[in-house]
Subunit: 424 residues, 2 copies
């Protein structure tokens, strides 16, 4: 069973709001084992909504239309569905009464426009509204189906789960396709997409090859800019247990290959961020961190504070943007401040001033101008670790000012992560 998503609303085409509904629905459909090969967005125009629905029905078994069910004149999804079905709209007086009671409960009067929301294409059935005023629709078109839900995200989500998903499951069961699809993402930092692809090519060839076993896993790469590169494992099987078993085995295999070929590049799973990975290691080792930031200007500290419970392992930071602050507050010796030595001194200063166990210092040139003769993109990181161990590192990072700062932040956190693992 293949279902296409059609989002209705001129504001989507104009980029005034991002289409988060389609992403959410796509995720839910995949998890339910329903294929979704295409999404469309279309404006509030009758002929174009009709065309989008016909296009979708031509290449899929069903359509979920989102939006255009409201009370205003540009809410015309009902009319478009009726044209595609070639039937008239019939007003459902039970729905009218329910909408009216919604208004009464809020001490307001229902306008005639609101009654339009009770119009149902002949032969269709409704998904009753419980939150807003618009009901959803389930409209058969031959042996295919058009589902319609409001564009308000929480109304859409609630109706999908209550009205659409059970109907889809019945269709899947009838077609014998019922299955579970789950993805798991390994998050990496410190390598390129092509190096990852090469390292995993032998594994991918097996999975994609002619001998590919039923219910196996696929591997894909998602370059995510300043958040690194994601390796996504997707498994499809008949039951939840089978899918989890497949993913566990594949994750282990992929981790082993990556560790052998590329080292400690996997920092997290799914939504786990680099700062969460660092936080977990600090907690595990019972260490408190103090920061001294120059070009990142508080970005690293701010990312770490985003982790709930940061007060247990984060002392704080000094943003020594001005050289004088580096010397006076952090005790960096006189001399150049865009060097590995300065980064090391900043790290030691942060540890001392903030009373922390681990100090991280970072200095460099975000650009656009050079500083002390150093070109933009040069970044120096120092780590003052327990046992008076000092580690310093030089990075050369690409991009403009915001990107250099973002790359610098995650590179520094990744260096700390690796040192905490190695030093553990």
């Amino acid at each position: 069973v293949r279902v296409e998503i059609v989002a209705v609303g001129t504001e989507l085409l104009l980029g005034q709001i991002a289409d988060t509904n389609s992403a959410w629905l796509g995720e839910q459909l995949a998890a339910a084992g329903v294929d979704s090969h295409f999404h469309q967005a279309v404006g509030d125009n009758h002929a174009r909504i009709v065309l989008a629905l016909r296009t979708a029905l031509a290449r899929s078994d069903g359509v979920i239309v989102c939006g255009g069910l409201g009370p205003t004149q540009d809410d015309i999804t009902r009319e478009a569905i009726a044209e595609v079905m070639n039937v008239p709209l019939v007003r459902d007086e039970e729905i009218v009464a329910r909408i009216a009671s919604f208004f009464v409960a809020r001490g307001r009067t229902m306008s005639e426009n609101n009654a339009r929301q009770a119009d149902v294409p002949e032969g269709g059935s409704v998904i009753e509204q419980v939150q807003g005023t618009a009901p959803g629709l389930i409209c058969p078109v031959g042996n295919k189906v058009v589902y319609a839900v409001p564009g308000v995200p929480y109304e859409m989500a609630e109706m999908f789960e209550r009205g659409i998903l059970p109907d889809l499951r019945r269709r899947l069961a009838r077609s014998g396709e019922e299955s579970v699809i789950v993805s798991r993402v390994l998050r990496t930092w410190g390598t390129s997409e092509s190096a990852l692809a090469e390292a995993l090519q032998a594994r991918i060839d097996v999975l994609d090859g002619p001998a590919r076993p039923e219910g196996t896993v696929t591997i894909a790469f998602l370059a995510s800019g300043i958040e690194g590169i994601k390796v996504r494992l997707t498994a499809r099987a008949r039951t939840d247990d089978e899918v989890v078993g497949l993913l566990d085995a594949e994750e282990q295999a992929v981790r082993a290959v990556l560790a052998e070929r590329l080292g400690d590049i996997v920092f997290g799973l799914d939504d786990e961020t680099m700062e969460q990975a660092v936080a977990a290691l600090l907690v595990e080792r019972g260490l408190r961190l103090g920061l001294a930031e120059s070009l990142t200007g508080g970005l690293i500290c701010s990312r770490l504070v985003e982790v709930p419970g940061a007060s247990h392992w984060l002392a704080g930071g000094v943003v020594a943007y001005e050289s004088a602050v580096k010397h006076r507050v952090l005790g960096v010796p006189p001399g150049p401040v865009v060097t590995e030595v300065a980064a090391g001194a900043m790290a030691q200063g942060a540890r001392t001033v903030l009373g922390a166990d681990v100090g991280l210092g970072i200095t460099g040139v975000a650009g656009p101008d050079t500083q002390e003769g150093v070109a933009p993109g040069a970044v120096f990181v120092g780590l003052a670790l327990p046992g008076d161990r000092l580690v310093t590192r030089e990075f050369h990072l690409p991009g403009d000012r915001p990107r250099v700062r973002q790359y610098a932040a995650i590179s520094a956190l990744d260096l700390l992560r690796r040192e905490l693992i190695d030093g553990g």
Copy 2:
């Protein structure tokens, strides 16, 4: 000229990433006077990309395809375009050399996969890559056109502006449709969307009314969460000069109404950020700023460092996340640290320790837990201003931990902005 956007990537269908590219492109196309009636998203599958492109070409004059130009096996947009054009792919050795030099500059070796990025459908031309490794494509299909750009947002945006927009403008000029649509955005902080709408209702009624003059301006409101509410003025006219004249007049009228009804709520124009507004005022008054942040954890400092030339007016900051750091480094007197008094002491401490003219201190509770009996969302800001003037303020901010921190940062910056204006 109607242009359809086709976003390529299975991760879009699965909802693993939101399709921000299509929204951005839709906004740019509208601003250029190009109609975009449909968007599609499709997975990394050859037959389906071909079908999506053919569907788009059947109902539009051109297509912008986003994504699938990378070096891996599932990047197959080039092959799909070649099939739609019914031509072979030809490797462009100049592009190969440019990709190779990109790798040499980073001390890495180019893999064979990367050379695939130099494949161009016969008859197509390239938009040279300047940031990543994949060039864009301009491919004629009969009298229609397929543009292809990488899915990485900043590469996509740069290529759109440099390669696609000029080509589209030529097509618009040829079809005699050229008109200029320009939007200007007034950015506000500190009021609600309904208050803005009420203040401007009389003006909107004139613009939308039956007596609406040709080439007039429309006003719209865009709630932008942690970046405030935008008031967007959009004008359409025959020439650049006419459009600018319309916008200048309307901006003046809107600013006058807002200043009279709601005070100093407009902090910037278009992409101007709150930190840029603050930076301009500090530069104008010849003042250096020092920060002491608790719950925001370096976020304010980091936003300010984003402004080029920050070293001229920003000394640095102390992230006093731990109470001990507040007392020891900033000299905050013993006692509770989530109060207006503590915020004032932090501001004075920041000014002294960092040798600044203006100190900003911020403390509060981001949540999820209470602190010192204070509920999440309570935020206290102190400003130590020249002439030993101390200003403190209490805010109650909505949302979860990340939103409270973001709202706290912009609220503090806005308070500083207003005090710099009033004290100027």
